[in-house]
Protein backbone atom coordinates (compact mmCIF):
# COMPACT_ATOMS: atom_id res chain seq x y z
CA UNK A 1 0.00 0.00 0.00
CA UNK A 2 1.40 3.35 -1.08
CA UNK A 3 0.61 7.00 -0.88
CA UNK A 4 -0.30 7.90 -4.47
CA UNK A 5 0.70 11.41 -5.43
CA UNK A 6 0.57 13.71 -8.44
CA UNK A 7 2.82 16.69 -9.09
CA UNK A 8 1.25 20.11 -8.69
CA UNK A 9 1.59 22.42 -11.67
CA UNK A 10 4.65 24.65 -11.70
CA UNK A 11 2.29 27.65 -11.55
CA UNK A 12 0.83 26.33 -8.30
CA UNK A 13 4.31 25.74 -6.85
CA UNK A 14 5.39 29.20 -7.98
CA UNK A 15 2.38 30.82 -6.28
CA UNK A 16 3.07 29.00 -3.03
CA UNK A 17 6.71 30.12 -2.91
CA UNK A 18 6.00 33.70 -3.92
CA UNK A 19 8.38 35.95 -2.01
CA UNK A 20 10.50 33.00 -0.86
CA UNK A 21 13.69 33.17 -2.93
CA UNK A 22 15.91 30.47 -1.43
CA UNK A 23 14.49 26.97 -1.68
CA UNK A 24 15.69 23.61 -0.33
CA UNK A 25 14.11 20.61 -2.10
CA UNK A 26 13.26 17.35 -0.34
CA UNK A 27 12.22 14.20 -2.19
CA UNK A 28 11.14 10.82 -0.84
CA UNK A 29 12.76 7.50 -1.64
CA UNK A 30 9.68 5.39 -1.06
CA UNK A 31 6.17 6.03 -2.48
CA UNK A 32 6.99 9.24 -4.37
CA UNK A 33 9.98 7.56 -6.02
CA UNK A 34 7.83 4.63 -7.09
CA UNK A 35 5.22 6.96 -8.60
CA UNK A 36 7.91 9.09 -10.29
CA UNK A 37 6.62 12.19 -8.55
CA UNK A 38 9.26 12.89 -5.90
CA UNK A 39 12.27 10.68 -6.59
CA UNK A 40 15.80 11.80 -7.43
CA UNK A 41 15.02 12.47 -11.07
CA UNK A 42 11.97 14.64 -10.29
CA UNK A 43 13.86 16.52 -7.56
CA UNK A 44 16.66 17.39 -10.01
CA UNK A 45 14.08 18.42 -12.61
CA UNK A 46 12.38 20.66 -10.05
CA UNK A 47 15.73 22.18 -9.15
CA UNK A 48 16.27 23.16 -12.77
CA UNK A 49 12.77 24.58 -13.16
CA UNK A 50 13.05 26.67 -9.98
CA UNK A 51 16.38 28.03 -11.18
CA UNK A 52 14.72 28.98 -14.47
CA UNK A 53 12.21 30.93 -12.38
CA UNK A 54 15.12 32.80 -10.83
CA UNK A 55 15.01 31.01 -7.48
CA UNK A 56 18.12 29.94 -5.61
CA UNK A 57 18.17 26.25 -4.73
CA UNK A 58 20.32 25.97 -1.59
CA UNK A 59 20.43 22.18 -1.80
CA UNK A 60 18.39 19.03 -2.16
CA UNK A 61 18.05 15.55 -0.73
CA UNK A 62 15.95 12.44 -1.18
CA UNK A 63 15.04 11.10 2.27
CA UNK A 64 14.69 7.27 2.25
CA UNK A 65 11.18 7.43 3.74
CA UNK A 66 9.99 10.98 4.38
CA UNK A 67 7.22 10.02 6.81
CA UNK A 68 9.32 7.99 9.27
CA UNK A 69 11.53 8.77 12.23
CA UNK A 70 14.73 8.96 10.17
CA UNK A 71 13.57 12.17 8.49
CA UNK A 72 15.03 14.34 11.23
CA UNK A 73 18.41 12.56 11.10
CA UNK A 74 18.48 12.84 7.35
CA UNK A 75 17.70 16.55 7.44
CA UNK A 76 20.28 17.19 10.16
CA UNK A 77 22.98 15.99 7.79
CA UNK A 78 21.99 18.81 5.44
CA UNK A 79 21.43 21.40 8.11
CA UNK A 80 23.61 24.11 6.58
CA UNK A 81 21.80 24.25 3.26
CA UNK A 82 18.44 23.95 5.01
CA UNK A 83 19.13 26.78 7.43
CA UNK A 84 20.11 29.11 4.61
CA UNK A 85 16.82 28.45 2.75
CA UNK A 86 13.61 30.50 3.07
CA UNK A 87 11.45 27.40 2.64
CA UNK A 88 11.49 23.63 2.18
CA UNK A 89 9.79 22.38 -0.98
CA UNK A 90 8.70 18.83 -0.22
CA UNK A 91 8.18 16.34 -3.03
CA UNK A 92 6.55 13.60 -0.97
CA UNK A 93 3.01 12.81 0.08
CA UNK A 94 1.35 14.95 2.75
CA UNK A 95 2.69 12.65 5.49
CA UNK A 96 6.23 13.64 4.59
CA UNK A 97 5.28 17.32 4.25
CA UNK A 98 3.86 17.29 7.78
CA UNK A 99 6.83 15.40 9.17
CA UNK A 100 9.25 17.91 7.66
CA UNK A 101 7.02 20.78 8.77
CA UNK A 102 7.40 19.72 12.38
CA UNK A 103 11.18 19.70 12.07
CA UNK A 104 12.62 23.18 12.29
CA UNK A 105 9.91 25.78 11.84
CA UNK A 106 10.88 26.63 8.25
CA UNK A 107 7.88 27.07 5.95
CA UNK A 108 7.08 23.79 4.16
CA UNK A 109 5.58 23.84 0.69
CA UNK A 110 4.03 20.71 -0.88
CA UNK A 111 5.04 20.15 -4.49
CA UNK A 112 2.70 17.15 -4.79
CA UNK A 113 -0.98 16.49 -4.22
CA UNK A 114 -1.74 13.30 -2.29
CA UNK A 115 -4.51 11.48 -4.15
CA UNK A 116 -5.18 8.31 -2.21
CA UNK A 117 -3.73 5.29 -0.48
CA UNK A 118 -3.52 2.69 -3.19
CA UNK A 119 -1.98 -0.40 -4.69
CA UNK A 120 -0.35 -0.90 -8.07
CA UNK A 121 -2.26 -3.16 -10.49
CA UNK A 122 0.20 -2.85 -13.35
CA UNK A 123 3.25 -0.63 -13.79
CA UNK A 124 2.07 2.96 -13.39
CA UNK A 125 -1.59 2.14 -12.71
CA UNK A 126 -2.82 2.44 -9.13
CA UNK A 127 -6.21 2.05 -7.52
CA UNK A 128 -7.46 3.19 -4.13
CA UNK A 129 -7.65 0.22 -1.81
CA UNK A 130 -8.76 1.56 1.56
CA UNK A 131 -10.54 4.63 2.91
CA UNK A 132 -9.61 3.85 6.53
CA UNK A 133 -13.30 3.90 7.48
CA UNK A 134 -12.73 2.02 10.71
CA UNK A 135 -15.41 -0.63 10.04
CA UNK A 136 -14.05 -3.12 7.58
CA UNK A 137 -16.74 -4.88 5.52
CA UNK A 138 -14.41 -6.90 3.27
CA UNK A 139 -15.60 -10.09 4.96
CA UNK A 140 -19.06 -9.54 3.47
CA UNK A 141 -17.92 -8.33 0.08
CA UNK A 142 -15.55 -11.03 -1.11
CA UNK A 143 -12.51 -8.91 -0.30
CA UNK A 144 -13.51 -6.08 -2.67
CA UNK A 145 -14.04 -2.75 -0.90
CA UNK A 146 -17.43 -1.17 -1.72
CA UNK A 147 -16.34 2.08 -0.10
CA UNK A 148 -13.42 2.74 -2.40
CA UNK A 149 -14.33 0.64 -5.44
CA UNK A 150 -17.92 1.97 -5.72
CA UNK A 151 -18.24 5.67 -6.62
CA UNK A 152 -21.10 6.05 -4.15
CA UNK A 153 -19.70 3.77 -1.45
CA UNK A 154 -22.89 1.70 -1.50
CA UNK A 155 -23.28 -1.11 1.02
CA UNK A 156 -26.39 -2.96 -0.16
CA UNK A 157 -25.73 -3.65 -3.83
CA UNK A 158 -25.33 -1.78 -7.12
CA UNK A 159 -27.09 1.43 -8.13
CA UNK A 160 -29.06 1.70 -11.36
CA UNK A 161 -26.17 3.45 -13.06
CA UNK A 162 -24.18 0.30 -13.67
CA UNK A 163 -24.13 -1.10 -17.18
CA UNK A 164 -22.45 -4.22 -18.49
CA UNK A 165 -20.36 -4.38 -15.35
CA UNK A 166 -19.10 -0.81 -15.69
CA UNK A 167 -19.62 2.33 -13.59
CA UNK A 168 -21.82 5.26 -14.64
CA UNK A 169 -19.04 7.66 -13.74
CA UNK A 170 -16.49 6.14 -16.10
CA UNK A 171 -17.19 3.42 -18.65
CA UNK A 172 -13.57 2.26 -18.31
CA UNK A 173 -14.02 1.50 -14.61
CA UNK A 174 -15.55 -1.67 -13.25
CA UNK A 175 -18.74 -1.62 -11.17
CA UNK A 176 -17.63 -2.73 -7.71
CA UNK A 177 -20.91 -4.49 -7.01
CA UNK A 178 -20.74 -6.48 -10.23
CA UNK A 179 -17.26 -7.65 -9.18
CA UNK A 180 -18.48 -8.43 -5.66
CA UNK A 181 -21.48 -10.31 -7.05
CA UNK A 182 -19.35 -12.39 -9.42
CA UNK A 183 -16.80 -13.31 -6.77
CA UNK A 184 -19.42 -14.15 -4.13
CA UNK A 185 -21.26 -16.27 -6.70
CA UNK A 186 -18.08 -18.18 -7.50
CA UNK A 187 -17.58 -18.74 -3.77
CA UNK A 188 -21.17 -19.90 -3.34
CA UNK A 189 -21.72 -17.09 -0.82
CA UNK A 190 -24.34 -14.87 -2.49
CA UNK A 191 -26.32 -14.99 0.75
CA UNK A 192 -23.84 -12.40 2.03
CA UNK A 193 -24.98 -9.94 -0.62
CA UNK A 194 -28.59 -10.52 0.36
CA UNK A 195 -27.86 -9.57 3.95
CA UNK A 196 -28.89 -6.02 4.92
CA UNK A 197 -25.97 -3.75 5.75
CA UNK A 198 -26.85 -0.83 8.06
CA UNK A 199 -25.42 2.66 7.53
CA UNK A 200 -21.80 3.12 8.52
CA UNK A 201 -20.76 4.99 11.61
CA UNK A 202 -19.09 8.14 10.32
CA UNK A 203 -17.62 8.85 13.76
CA UNK A 204 -15.68 5.67 14.57
CA UNK A 205 -12.72 7.88 15.40
CA UNK A 206 -13.99 11.48 15.22
CA UNK A 207 -11.71 14.05 13.65
CA UNK A 208 -9.16 15.15 14.63
CA UNK A 209 -8.36 11.45 14.40
CA UNK A 210 -5.88 10.06 16.88
CA UNK A 211 -5.88 6.89 18.92
CA UNK A 212 -3.69 5.20 21.49
CA UNK A 213 -3.06 1.60 20.49
CA UNK A 214 -0.89 0.42 23.41
Amino acid sequence: MKSITRQKSLDDVEQQIEGLERVYIIGCGTCATMTNTGGREQVLDMKERLQELGKTVTGWTVIPTACDEMTEVSLQENNGAIQSADCLLVMSCALGVQKVGAYNGKPVIPALDTLFIGVEDEPGYFHEACDQCGQCVLGYTAGICPITACHKGLLNGPCGGTNNGKCEVDKEKDCAWTLIYERLKKQGRLDLMKKYQPPKNSQVVPRPRATRIL
Binding site: N156, G157, P158, C159, G160, Y181, P199
Partner: protein
Protein backbone atom coordinates in the same frame (compact mmCIF):
# COMPACT_ATOMS: atom_id res chain seq x y z
CA UNK B 1 -57.52 14.39 -6.48
CA UNK B 2 -60.15 11.98 -5.29
CA UNK B 3 -57.91 9.48 -3.57
CA UNK B 4 -54.40 9.16 -2.25
CA UNK B 5 -51.71 7.34 -4.19
CA UNK B 6 -51.75 4.60 -1.56
CA UNK B 7 -55.49 4.16 -1.98
CA UNK B 8 -54.98 3.99 -5.73
CA UNK B 9 -52.27 1.32 -5.26
CA UNK B 10 -54.62 -0.75 -3.16
CA UNK B 11 -57.70 -0.21 -5.33
CA UNK B 12 -56.74 -2.87 -7.83
CA UNK B 13 -57.09 -0.51 -10.78
CA UNK B 14 -54.37 0.16 -13.34
CA UNK B 15 -52.26 2.91 -11.77
CA UNK B 16 -50.90 5.88 -13.68
CA UNK B 17 -48.17 8.09 -12.31
CA UNK B 18 -46.13 10.70 -14.09
CA UNK B 19 -43.43 13.15 -13.17
CA UNK B 20 -42.26 16.71 -13.44
CA UNK B 21 -38.82 18.25 -13.17
CA UNK B 22 -38.52 21.49 -11.18
CA UNK B 23 -36.95 24.53 -12.87
CA UNK B 24 -33.41 25.76 -12.65
CA UNK B 25 -34.30 29.04 -11.04
CA UNK B 26 -37.26 30.68 -9.38
CA UNK B 27 -39.59 30.89 -12.35
CA UNK B 28 -42.20 28.26 -11.48
CA UNK B 29 -44.61 29.02 -14.32
CA UNK B 30 -43.80 26.06 -16.52
CA UNK B 31 -43.77 23.62 -13.60
CA UNK B 32 -47.17 24.94 -12.44
CA UNK B 33 -48.49 24.53 -15.97
CA UNK B 34 -47.33 20.90 -15.99
CA UNK B 35 -48.91 20.33 -12.58
CA UNK B 36 -52.22 21.71 -13.88
CA UNK B 37 -52.10 19.33 -16.84
CA UNK B 38 -51.31 16.26 -14.74
CA UNK B 39 -53.03 16.71 -11.40
CA UNK B 40 -56.46 15.37 -12.37
CA UNK B 41 -55.14 12.94 -14.93
CA UNK B 42 -52.83 10.69 -12.92
CA UNK B 43 -52.77 9.01 -9.50
CA UNK B 44 -49.51 10.55 -8.42
CA UNK B 45 -46.93 13.03 -9.69
CA UNK B 46 -43.24 12.43 -8.96
CA UNK B 47 -41.00 15.43 -8.54
CA UNK B 48 -37.40 14.71 -9.50
CA UNK B 49 -34.61 15.47 -7.04
CA UNK B 50 -31.84 17.28 -8.94
CA UNK B 51 -32.20 14.70 -11.68
CA UNK B 52 -28.94 13.75 -13.42
CA UNK B 53 -27.18 15.64 -10.60
CA UNK B 54 -28.22 18.97 -12.11
CA UNK B 55 -28.94 21.56 -9.38
CA UNK B 56 -32.55 22.76 -9.50
CA UNK B 57 -35.48 23.96 -7.41
CA UNK B 58 -35.92 21.25 -4.77
CA UNK B 59 -38.12 18.20 -5.08
CA UNK B 60 -39.98 19.07 -1.88
CA UNK B 61 -40.71 22.55 -3.25
CA UNK B 62 -42.30 20.98 -6.32
CA UNK B 63 -44.31 18.62 -4.08
CA UNK B 64 -45.63 21.57 -2.06
CA UNK B 65 -46.74 23.24 -5.32
CA UNK B 66 -48.57 20.05 -6.29
CA UNK B 67 -50.29 19.98 -2.89
CA UNK B 68 -51.32 23.62 -3.27
CA UNK B 69 -52.78 22.82 -6.68
CA UNK B 70 -54.74 19.86 -5.34
CA UNK B 71 -52.58 17.08 -6.80
CA UNK B 72 -50.98 14.01 -5.22
CA UNK B 73 -47.20 14.39 -4.99
CA UNK B 74 -44.59 11.66 -4.85
CA UNK B 75 -41.42 13.04 -3.27
CA UNK B 76 -38.30 11.72 -4.98
CA UNK B 77 -35.53 11.58 -2.43
CA UNK B 78 -31.98 10.73 -3.32
CA UNK B 79 -29.17 10.04 -0.88
CA UNK B 80 -26.70 12.10 -2.91
CA UNK B 81 -27.05 15.51 -1.29
CA UNK B 82 -28.10 15.02 2.36
CA UNK B 83 -26.73 13.18 5.33
CA UNK B 84 -29.03 11.19 7.61
CA UNK B 85 -29.97 14.24 9.68
CA UNK B 86 -31.05 16.29 6.66
CA UNK B 87 -32.95 13.37 5.11
CA UNK B 88 -34.90 12.72 8.30
CA UNK B 89 -35.62 16.41 8.82
CA UNK B 90 -37.00 16.67 5.29
CA UNK B 91 -39.23 13.66 5.89
CA UNK B 92 -40.63 15.43 8.97
CA UNK B 93 -41.30 18.56 6.93
CA UNK B 94 -42.88 16.57 4.08
CA UNK B 95 -45.22 14.76 6.44
CA UNK B 96 -46.41 17.94 8.15
CA UNK B 97 -47.22 19.44 4.75
CA UNK B 98 -49.36 16.52 3.66
CA UNK B 99 -46.85 14.81 1.40
CA UNK B 100 -47.51 11.10 1.87
CA UNK B 101 -45.48 9.37 -0.84
CA UNK B 102 -41.71 9.03 -1.08
CA UNK B 103 -39.65 7.38 -3.79
CA UNK B 104 -36.29 6.35 -2.33
CA UNK B 105 -33.33 6.56 -4.69
CA UNK B 106 -29.57 6.34 -4.43
CA UNK B 107 -29.14 9.34 -6.71
CA UNK B 108 -27.05 9.88 -9.81
CA UNK B 109 -23.32 10.44 -9.46
CA UNK B 110 -22.06 13.99 -9.04
CA UNK B 111 -19.59 13.93 -11.97
CA UNK B 112 -22.36 13.38 -14.55
CA UNK B 113 -24.14 16.60 -13.47
CA UNK B 114 -23.53 20.34 -13.58
CA UNK B 115 -21.71 20.80 -10.26
CA UNK B 116 -18.79 18.55 -11.04
CA UNK B 117 -16.68 19.52 -8.02
CA UNK B 118 -19.46 19.17 -5.44
CA UNK B 119 -19.27 16.62 -2.64
CA UNK B 120 -21.51 13.59 -3.03
CA UNK B 121 -22.88 12.54 0.35
CA UNK B 122 -24.30 9.01 -0.14
CA UNK B 123 -24.21 8.41 3.59
CA UNK B 124 -27.31 6.23 3.21
CA UNK B 125 -28.31 4.12 0.24
CA UNK B 126 -31.82 3.56 -1.08
CA UNK B 127 -32.36 0.44 1.03
CA UNK B 128 -31.24 2.21 4.19
CA UNK B 129 -33.47 5.21 3.37
CA UNK B 130 -36.49 2.91 3.05
CA UNK B 131 -35.69 1.42 6.44
CA UNK B 132 -35.28 4.92 7.88
CA UNK B 133 -38.84 5.76 6.81
CA UNK B 134 -40.17 2.62 8.49
CA UNK B 135 -38.14 3.42 11.60
CA UNK B 136 -39.50 6.97 11.77
CA UNK B 137 -43.02 5.60 11.39
CA UNK B 138 -42.39 3.68 14.62
CA UNK B 139 -41.74 7.00 16.36
CA UNK B 140 -37.95 6.79 16.50
CA UNK B 141 -35.14 8.55 14.68
CA UNK B 142 -31.85 7.04 13.54
CA UNK B 143 -30.16 8.23 16.70
CA UNK B 144 -32.54 6.05 18.73
CA UNK B 145 -34.46 9.04 20.06
CA UNK B 146 -38.23 9.40 20.36
CA UNK B 147 -40.01 11.59 17.83
CA UNK B 148 -42.68 13.97 19.12
CA UNK B 149 -45.06 13.04 16.34
CA UNK B 150 -44.19 10.26 13.90
CA UNK B 151 -44.48 10.13 10.10
CA UNK B 152 -46.44 7.84 7.81
CA UNK B 153 -45.53 7.37 4.18
CA UNK B 154 -46.26 5.22 1.19
CA UNK B 155 -42.67 4.37 0.28
CA UNK B 156 -41.40 3.21 -3.06
CA UNK B 157 -38.22 2.46 -4.93
CA UNK B 158 -36.97 1.67 -8.42
CA UNK B 159 -35.56 -1.25 -10.33
CA UNK B 160 -33.87 -1.58 -13.71
CA UNK B 161 -35.39 -4.64 -15.43
CA UNK B 162 -33.09 -4.30 -18.46
CA UNK B 163 -29.84 -4.17 -16.47
CA UNK B 164 -27.00 -6.43 -17.48
CA UNK B 165 -26.18 -8.45 -15.44
CA UNK B 166 -29.66 -8.48 -13.91
CA UNK B 167 -29.08 -10.66 -10.85
CA UNK B 168 -27.27 -8.06 -8.68
CA UNK B 169 -30.17 -5.66 -9.37
CA UNK B 170 -32.69 -8.31 -8.36
CA UNK B 171 -30.86 -8.99 -5.10
CA UNK B 172 -31.15 -5.29 -4.30
CA UNK B 173 -34.79 -5.24 -5.46
CA UNK B 174 -35.55 -7.94 -2.90
CA UNK B 175 -33.70 -5.99 -0.21
CA UNK B 176 -35.87 -2.96 -1.02
CA UNK B 177 -39.01 -5.04 -0.60
CA UNK B 178 -37.73 -6.43 2.70
CA UNK B 179 -36.98 -2.85 3.76
CA UNK B 180 -40.62 -1.98 3.28
CA UNK B 181 -41.04 -0.67 -0.28
CA UNK B 182 -44.73 -0.71 -1.27
CA UNK B 183 -44.36 0.22 -4.91
CA UNK B 184 -41.75 0.15 -7.64
CA UNK B 185 -41.44 2.52 -10.57
CA UNK B 186 -39.11 0.87 -13.06
CA UNK B 187 -36.45 2.39 -15.25
CA UNK B 188 -37.75 2.87 -18.81
CA UNK B 189 -38.71 -0.37 -20.52
CA UNK B 190 -39.32 -0.88 -24.25
CA UNK B 191 -39.05 -4.62 -24.78
CA UNK B 192 -42.30 -5.99 -23.42
CA UNK B 193 -41.22 -9.62 -23.78
CA UNK B 194 -38.23 -8.95 -21.57
CA UNK B 195 -40.35 -6.98 -19.14
CA UNK B 196 -42.85 -9.82 -19.05
CA UNK B 197 -40.06 -12.14 -17.92
CA UNK B 198 -39.14 -9.71 -15.16
CA UNK B 199 -42.80 -9.58 -14.09
CA UNK B 200 -43.00 -13.39 -14.02
CA UNK B 201 -40.31 -13.21 -11.35
CA UNK B 202 -41.56 -10.05 -9.59
CA UNK B 203 -45.13 -11.31 -9.18
CA UNK B 204 -44.09 -13.48 -6.24
CA UNK B 205 -43.54 -10.36 -4.10
CA UNK B 206 -46.22 -8.30 -2.35
CA UNK B 207 -45.42 -5.09 -4.19
CA UNK B 208 -47.03 -2.97 -6.90
CA UNK B 209 -44.98 -2.57 -10.06
CA UNK B 210 -45.37 0.45 -12.32
CA UNK B 211 -43.56 0.08 -15.64
CA UNK B 212 -41.43 3.06 -16.61
CA UNK B 213 -42.53 4.65 -19.88
CA UNK B 214 -40.14 7.26 -21.25
CA UNK B 215 -41.54 9.16 -24.23
CA UNK B 216 -39.35 8.76 -27.30
CA UNK B 217 -39.28 11.96 -29.35
CA UNK B 218 -36.91 10.91 -32.14
CA UNK B 219 -34.84 8.04 -33.46
CA UNK B 220 -31.80 10.05 -32.43
CA UNK B 221 -32.95 10.20 -28.81
CA UNK B 222 -33.54 6.44 -28.82
CA UNK B 223 -30.04 5.77 -30.15
CA UNK B 224 -28.55 8.23 -27.68
CA UNK B 225 -30.25 6.49 -24.76
CA UNK B 226 -29.08 3.08 -25.97
CA UNK B 227 -25.52 4.33 -26.01
CA UNK B 228 -25.51 6.51 -22.91
CA UNK B 229 -28.21 5.66 -20.41
CA UNK B 230 -27.49 2.60 -18.28
CA UNK B 231 -30.27 0.04 -18.22
CA UNK B 232 -32.24 1.46 -21.17
CA UNK B 233 -32.55 -0.57 -24.34
CA UNK B 234 -34.74 0.62 -27.21
CA UNK B 235 -35.19 -2.23 -29.73
CA UNK B 236 -34.29 -1.55 -33.37
CA UNK B 237 -37.88 -1.95 -34.61
CA UNK B 238 -38.96 1.02 -32.46
CA UNK B 239 -36.02 3.09 -33.69
CA UNK B 240 -37.04 2.24 -37.29
CA UNK B 241 -40.63 3.19 -36.50
CA UNK B 242 -39.55 6.59 -35.18
CA UNK B 243 -37.26 7.11 -38.18
CA UNK B 244 -40.14 6.36 -40.56
CA UNK B 245 -42.16 9.33 -39.30
CA UNK B 246 -42.35 12.41 -41.54
CA UNK B 247 -40.00 15.23 -40.57
CA UNK B 248 -41.10 16.95 -37.37
CA UNK B 249 -43.62 14.26 -36.52
CA UNK B 250 -41.42 11.74 -34.72
CA UNK B 251 -42.89 12.87 -31.40
CA UNK B 252 -46.35 11.82 -32.57
CA UNK B 253 -44.89 8.41 -33.38
CA UNK B 254 -43.34 8.39 -29.88
CA UNK B 255 -46.74 9.18 -28.36
CA UNK B 256 -48.27 6.36 -30.39
CA UNK B 257 -45.56 3.91 -29.26
CA UNK B 258 -45.94 4.90 -25.59
CA UNK B 259 -49.73 4.65 -25.83
CA UNK B 260 -49.51 1.26 -27.49
CA UNK B 261 -47.15 -0.06 -24.80
CA UNK B 262 -49.37 1.23 -22.00
CA UNK B 263 -52.45 -0.33 -23.60
CA UNK B 264 -50.70 -3.71 -23.85
CA UNK B 265 -49.41 -3.55 -20.27
CA UNK B 266 -52.92 -2.71 -19.05
CA UNK B 267 -55.02 -4.96 -21.26
CA UNK B 268 -52.77 -8.00 -20.80
CA UNK B 269 -52.50 -7.28 -17.04
CA UNK B 270 -48.72 -7.49 -17.29
CA UNK B 271 -48.08 -5.13 -14.35
CA UNK B 272 -49.96 -2.93 -11.90
CA UNK B 273 -49.57 0.38 -13.68
CA UNK B 274 -47.22 2.70 -15.51
CA UNK B 275 -45.01 5.63 -14.62
CA UNK B 276 -44.91 8.05 -17.54
CA UNK B 277 -41.79 10.18 -17.95
CA UNK B 278 -42.22 12.75 -20.69
CA UNK B 279 -39.01 14.59 -19.72
CA UNK B 280 -40.06 18.20 -20.30
CA UNK B 281 -42.95 17.36 -22.70
CA UNK B 282 -45.51 16.88 -19.93
CA UNK B 283 -48.14 18.63 -22.06
CA UNK B 284 -48.36 15.50 -24.23
CA UNK B 285 -49.10 13.12 -21.34
CA UNK B 286 -52.87 13.47 -22.03
CA UNK B 287 -52.19 12.47 -25.65
CA UNK B 288 -50.19 9.43 -24.51
CA UNK B 289 -53.06 8.34 -22.27
CA UNK B 290 -55.56 8.94 -25.07
CA UNK B 291 -53.40 6.83 -27.38
CA UNK B 292 -53.54 4.13 -24.72
CA UNK B 293 -57.31 4.37 -24.63
CA UNK B 294 -57.31 5.88 -21.16
CA UNK B 295 -59.18 9.15 -20.78
CA UNK B 296 -58.78 10.89 -17.47
CA UNK B 297 -57.99 8.89 -14.43
CA UNK B 298 -58.93 10.64 -11.25
Amino acid sequence: MAQSFKEALNSGKFIISSEIGPPKGTNLEKMRHHIDILKDLVDGINVTDHQSSVMRFPSIGGCLEIKEHGGEPILQMTCRDRNQMALQAELLLAYTRGIRNVLCLTGDAIPIGDHKEAKGVFELDSVQLLRTIRLMESGKDMGGNDLDGAVEFCAGAIVTPEANPIEPQLIKFEKKIEAGAEFIQTQAIYDLDNFGKFMDYARQFPIKILAGIVLLVSARMAKYMNENVPGIFVPQNLIDELASAPKGEAINKGIEIAGRMIATLKNDSICDGVHIMAIGREEVVPDILAAAGINGHA
